[in-house]
Symmetry: C3
Subunit: 149 residues, 3 copies
């Protein structure tokens, strides 16, 4: 067995990181789906960027993230629509600069009130996470959709 | 960085809790989908309660959980129907009284024999978990459906 | 509380294993969906076997895994089709011989270019994982489909 795979300290540090990243996404995505634009923006680094499919260019910085998210949330509320974002299959890598790379899959479910819930999108999400005051934040996100690439 | 986010003992305890909760739900939901009403009831605290959408009031206590689950399992078996419950995006919080709060998303998939599998429900699940003899159990569960609230 | 559930060393070892298994599946399935047959075969033990629904008998050994995967990948590429495999609800057990048993659920999503993504399959996956040079590998896998059993 290779030493680096069985150094208990390293294994333990990886387990801690993996749990933190899962917990981060859980709250991050529940905040997104709750429609709280300010709370959502605070889960990004101050200079965080968000590169979404179909957008001409990435959304950059918390003010822009609040604005973009507020617009979406208002449209969903007007349409009686609930979205649920799931991240899964998290491939988590510690990078040399201390940031954390995550490549994962993302599902979006959509429910229009009084209608059946449906699978809306299957995506791939590539994030770089950083710690601000010890708390994980998204520095960069790039999402691609399986149905349009 | 904030001290409380980087106390290795605390990080380690959180990682242990997060893994236990994930393992708990895995077995808990596989037992549910297997149709074993008694084994299912044992994953709840003695006085556990289950507040499901559409029910007039919560199911309370193991005897009532066995009865309600047996009825569902018999109906699914008669209809040649398999359900698969997925919990995900687990937001896990330790509470002051030692219980564990979980707010998560829940998917239900449905397959009628020889027919394609379908997405049946998208839900939000709010649990309070407790330890009985060191083993996690559901004390209270409240589920809401995205398509009817 | 039972001693064995609260031995911190044991809880810590379980958390480490659970995180490793999750990380293993994340990369394993991303490699599968990327279509890299050689990289995929390397995530199996040298004598690994793969028992898939509808196949007359299991695929055995890395050479056979490469061949079978190459065929599928070529067919998907020709059809402009992307698959995404999700494992979830991982029930992870350490076995006496040092191998790791996992019973989990598996979803397959399918997207044909320029068409909406769809849920393709709901399955149950039973794996035995082993360590080779400290790295997790699949020794045996058995998959059953909910829509045909």
């Amino acid at each position: 067995m290779r030493a680096e795979s069985h150094d208990p300290l390293q294994d333990s540090a990886f387990a801690q990181l993996y749990a933190q990243v899962q917990q981060f996404y859980a709250r991050h995505l529940q905040v997104l789906d709750s429609g709280s634009a300010t709370a959502w923006a605070e889960t990004f680094a101050e200079d965080g960027s968000l590169d979404l499919p179909g957008a001409a260019e990435p959304v950059r910085g918390r003010a822009a993230i609040v604005e973009s998210m507020s617009r979406s949330a208002a449209a969903f509320a007007a349409a009686g629509e609930t979205r649920r974002h799931w991240h899964g299959m998290l491939d988590v890598t510690e990078r040399l600069d201390g940031s954390i790379g995550v490549r994962c899959y993302a599902l979006v479910f959509r429910t229009v009130r009084d209608n059946p819930s449906t699978l809306h999108r299957v995506c791939v999400c590539e994030d770089v996470l950083v710690r601000e005051d010890g708390v994980l934040k998204v520095r960069t996100r790039r999402v691609t959709r399986d149905d349009s690439h």
